[in-house]
């Protein structure tokens, strides 16, 4: 069964890449066939090609110009319930053959793992949607340099205290791949990403602070104006000047939308495959339990046109579908690959490769609950705008992370804060979500700012 993707988008992709889609498909399925011929009971092959243009501008002059193109072939072969994998960047027949040799050799020595194996045929996506993930219109080097310059110029002129620049960069990436499995899947698609980011430094007698802002979109035209990005980066640097620590105290904390997504990420990691079946998650066995307040839902939408985390099928070819991950606070489903699903004796959810576009909603959020309104609601506490370090214990949910942000009192921002940590336990934190703002930050995981009732802020 070959999955046919002859939409307009892939026709234009055909003109862009070095290898045709048909060649990729033939290479991937050819490798699978070769592996089976060698004696493998199953095989999965992935062939991909990608290219990138990256320009970095500093002091309005180009600092770096990079144009690159690469290919990767990865192969997993199964010898009954033993498996071996190999990867190469050399697509010559000789190299592909050595890659098969390497994978096959490994598969003679690894242990027997009865849960491993490719996705079964009935799980596979047979008619993948064209999600417009490939976008042909991309800037050439000159235009990209000019866009980066515009961002930097706007940032450097945004305030007298902007003293130095880390520069602005534009990146253009295109890729395509083909996945073939011995259970009948052959398919793939082309994809694009355009990004613009800027970072500048504000300075005063107290020291230097940097501010950065950036954005990525599938379609170049969907990026904010470079001036907007530059000005935001400058604003973030200026606002950090004269940051100071706080005294250790328990208080409510408001996580700004752009960093609140990381909290959702920690939640998702705890309800994903390996963490669950190894019992190394603070949310093991939580299906059907209340994880968030009743007014909160978490939706997943893999089929958004041009979504940054959209996919018609997962890394195993398993179909993806929109769903409510959390409904009225109650966990409806995990994130499982076929391996995890078999281990847990649950249906596969099509998540080999991670989560798709996620949106956190609260039924209590009003349209005008922007950041200002949320700060008023916080009234007295810490507004977190940056994280430093990782600080999450995935087994216990214990959370202790360096942060910077702003001290809020009387419903207003008083001064910038740094050199403090926020600690708590994630399981408790999720239930203590008091409110979610309407100031949604557009990224693969979207949420408004998140207000948590009580966390320990440690400082001086």
């Amino acid at each position: 069964m070959t999955v046919d993707s002859t939409s307009a988008a892939s026709r234009s992709a055909a003109g862009h890449f070095l290898l045709s889609k048909a060649t990729l498909d033939a290479m991937a399925s050819g490798l699978v066939k070769q592996a089976l011929g060698r004696g493998a009971s199953d095989a999965v092959a992935r062939v991909s090609e990608s290219d990138q243009l990256l320009v970095q501008v500093r002091d309005f002059r180009p600092e770096t110009l990079e144009k690159s193109q690469r290919q990767v072939v990865s192969l997993t072969v199964y010898n009954g319930s033993r498996s071996g994998s190999a990867r190469t960047s050399d697509l010559s027949p000789k190299a592909l053959s050595s890659t098969l040799d390497a994978a096959w050799h490994i598969a003679k020595y690894t242990g027997s793992d009865s849960w491993s194996g490719p996705a079964e045929a009935d799980l596979l996506e047979t008619s993948p949607l064209d999600l417009e993930l490939y976008q042909a219109r991309s800037p050439e080097a000159e235009e990209a340099i000019e866009a980066a310059r515009r961002a930097e110029r706007a940032a450097m002129t945004a305030g007298a205290a902007i003293a130095n620049s880390n520069g602005a960069r534009v990146s253009v990436q295109h890729g395509q791949f083909s996945l073939a499995t011995s259970r009948g899947f052959v398919g793939g698609y082309a994809h694009s990403s355009h990004a613009l980011a800027c970072s500048v430094i504000a300075a005063n007698a107290a020291g230097m602070q940097d501010g950065e802002w950036g954005m990525a979109r599938r379609r170049y035209a969907d990026l904010d104006a470079p001036e907007t990005i530059g000005r935001t980066a400058a604003r973030r640097a200026l606002d950090k000047l004269d940051a100071r620590p706080l005294k250790t105290e328990r208080m409510p904390v408001l996580f700004e939308a752009s960093v609140a997504a990381s909290l959702v990420g920690s939640l998702v990691a705890a309800i994903s495959g390996q963490a669950l079946y190894l019992g190394r998650s603070f949310l093991t066995g939580s299906l059907g339990q209340l994880l968030l307040p009743e007014h909160v839902d978490l939706h997943e939408t893999p089929h958004e046109r041009r979504g940054l985390a959209s996919a018609p099928f997962d890394d195993e070819g398993v179909r993806t579908r929109a769903r409510e991950v959390i409904k009225e606070g109650v966990l409806q489903g995990y994130f499982l690959s076929t391996y995890a699903a078999r281990r847990l004796a649950m249906p596969c959810t099509g998540h080999a490769g991670g989560p798709y576009n996620l949106s956190l909603f609260s039924s209590r959020t009003a349209a005008n609950d922007g950041l200002d309104a949320m700060v008023r609601r916080l009234h007295r506490g810490l507004l977190v705008t940056e994280f430093m370090g990782h600080g999450v214990n995935p087994v216990t949910g214990d959370y202790s992370r360096g942060v910077s942000g702003f001290w809020v009192e009387g419903g207003e921002i008083q001064h910038p804060v740094h050199e403090v940590t926020v600690s708590g336990n994630l399981k408790r934190m999720f239930l203590d979500i008091a409110a979610i703002g309407a100031d949604v930050h557009m990224a693969p995981t979207r949420t408004g700012s998140i207000l948590v009732d009580s966390l320990l802020v440690a400082g001086r």
């Binding site: 994998s85 130095n164 430093m388 370090g389 087994v395 202790s400 360096g402 001086r460």
Partner: protein
């Protein structure tokens, strides 16, 4: 300068000849692909036509493997090969970069076309074009053998199974063991516009262990690891036993640990791996690119007292066998011991060619890149604080109420503000000069330059870590070594849960 001891077993010096690297690399990366020095010279010439300041070609063949054991079985293993050539031309402070995975004359021609003619081209007279190469040979600091061939697949599996047994049987509360054995072998050849031709053959092995302990409804993790530029024979039974013991002890202590206190307190960092704090708080801030741009909290501070007296910080890429070591950096320059801070005074930064030239200082052999497909920049190699004179027990005894940290998982730094954050999943309270109860979840935060000034006691037991450090910068990961003696920092902010 005081010496430094290794965290692992003693190993004899390598005996491979110095010429071997260049011969082997040329045969493997050039001759096998019908390339030769004349073609390289022609390519470099074509890259430098518009008056560039620098141009180089970086050939690399990289072979890696990872074997993973989970729940008693080696469940998966991957072998990977990646090779290619990166071409770089520099005009002033502008870099043009392109790479190819094909090692061929046609690919080199395309790379030359893609990298010549910068925006600021023609403004300077440019570098002279070489008419011949001068091969450079350096005494080896690690053997040139491929770790993959140093053990059969069955031996690798047996090694992991043996480690798993040791850890699992150490205590009935140990319920899960995950172990990962990885091996890498890089053949690198650098051809430069000034006629330098140099090569390096880099083995790298690493064994990482993670155990889970459970008791009374609580579940905690302990970790350990070791490695370096060896082959798999490095992992002796004795080393496996010490890895198992370390991870198990950490997991069991974590079971009993209470949440770390929050607030300001004196912190004693143990020798070796807690050097991660130095790496984050100071190391990145002393990289040449940040200082050339003036964006580091240490910019413009050369010659100033940036740390307490007695603090000496060194970056040394030439230490035999260390994980962070390189015989040549990724621009073909010999690595060496670079004193960054001496007795508290900032002496200089870590440099690559571009930043050294723009700052008017010598290169230091700190140019590193994750692969041919990424741009080099100033990076750390093995970064450590040298020994002081105090007995470590004296350092601990001096603390009335504080924290003793022997393991730091990782952290992050903002080199502009100097803010850093480190995670210690397991630490110990110090009460009246004695190490008492284990505590967990401590985050240490502070300001790098400020913390350096608050180092009040330095022990005489400097050690490099066991060989598992990974450093990330601008999306590029490189292996590094970390080290320090026992030291005391007055009044650090500790973020705990209580």
């Amino acid at each position: 300068m005081k010496g430094i001891t290794w965290g692992g077993p003693a190993v004899a010096a390598p005996t491979t000849s110095a010429k071997h690297a260049l011969e082997t690399a040329s045969a493997y990366l050039l001759h096998r692909h019908d390339l030769d020095e004349a073609i390289l010279l022609k390519t470099l010439s074509a890259m430098s036509t518009s008056g560039s300041d620098y141009a180089d070609l970086y050939f690399q063949s990289s072979h890696g493997e990872v074997w993973e054991l989970r729940e008693g079985i080696v469940r998966s293993a991957t072998s990977s090969i990646d090779q290619g050539v990166g071409a770089r031309t520099i005009y002033g402070d502008e870099t043009r970069f392109a790479y190819s995975q094909a090692l061929s004359v046609a690919a080199l021609e395309q790379l030359a076309a893609a990298t010549r003619g910068g925006m600021t081209a023609g403004r300077s007279p440019g570098a002279a074009k070489p008419s011949r190469f001068q091969g450079r040979h350096f005494p080896p600091i690690y053997a040139a053998g491929d770790p993959h061939h140093s053990a059969e697949a069955s031996t690798k599996v047996a090694l992991l199974e043996r480690l798993e047994r040791m850890a699992r049987l150490a205590d009935p509360r140990i319920t899960q063991v995950t172990a990962r054995l990885s091996g890498g072998y890089d053949i690198v050849l650098v051809a430069r516009c000034d006629g330098c031709l140099a090569a390096d053959i880099r083995p790298l092995v690493r064994l990482a262990l993670e155990v889970t302990a459970e008791f009374g409804g609580a579940k905690e993790i302990g970790t350990s690891g070791a490695g370096g530029r060896f082959d798999y024979a490095y992992f002796t039974g004795e080393l496996l036993a010490s890895l198992a013991a370390r991870a198990v002890d950490m997991a069991l202590a974590s079971l009993e640990a209470r949440p770390a206190p929050a607030g300001t307190m004196d912190v004693v960092l143990g020798p070796g791996v807690p050097g991660v704090l130095l790496h984050e708080a100071v190391g990145h801030g002393l990289e040449g690119d940040f200082n050339r741009k003036g964006s580091s909290a240490f910019s413009g501070c050369v010659g100033q007292q940036v740390a307490a007296r007695g603090v000496t910080v060194v970056d040394d890429g030439s230490m035999p066998h260390r994980r962070g070591s390189l015989r040549i950096d990724d621009e073909g320059n010999e690595t060496r011991s670079t004193v960054l801070i001496e007795d508290g005074v900032l002496k200089g930064y870590m440099q690559d060619t571009l930043n050294a030239r723009l700052m008017g200082v010598p290169v230091t052999g700190n140019a590193r890149r994750a692969s041919y497909a990424a741009l080099p920049m100033p990076r750390m190699t093995n970064t450590y604080m040298a020994s002081g004179s105090l007995d470590p027990r004296e350092v601990i005894a001096s603390v009335k109420k504080g924290l003793y940290v022997t393991d730091l998982n990782g952290g992050q730094v903002d080199i502009t503000s100097g803010q850093f954050s480190m995670e210690a999943s397991l630490a110990f309270l110090i009460e009246d000069g004695r190490i008492t109860a284990p505590v967990k979840g401590a985050t240490l935060i502070g300001n790098g330059p400020e913390v350096l000034r608050r180092i009040s006691m330095i022990g005489n037991d400097a050690q490099i870590d066991a060989g598992i450090g990974v450093c990330g910068k601008a999306g590029q990961s490189v292996p590094v070594g970390l080290g320090q003696p026992t030291l005391k920092i007055d009044g650090m902010t500790v973020g705990g849960a209580s």
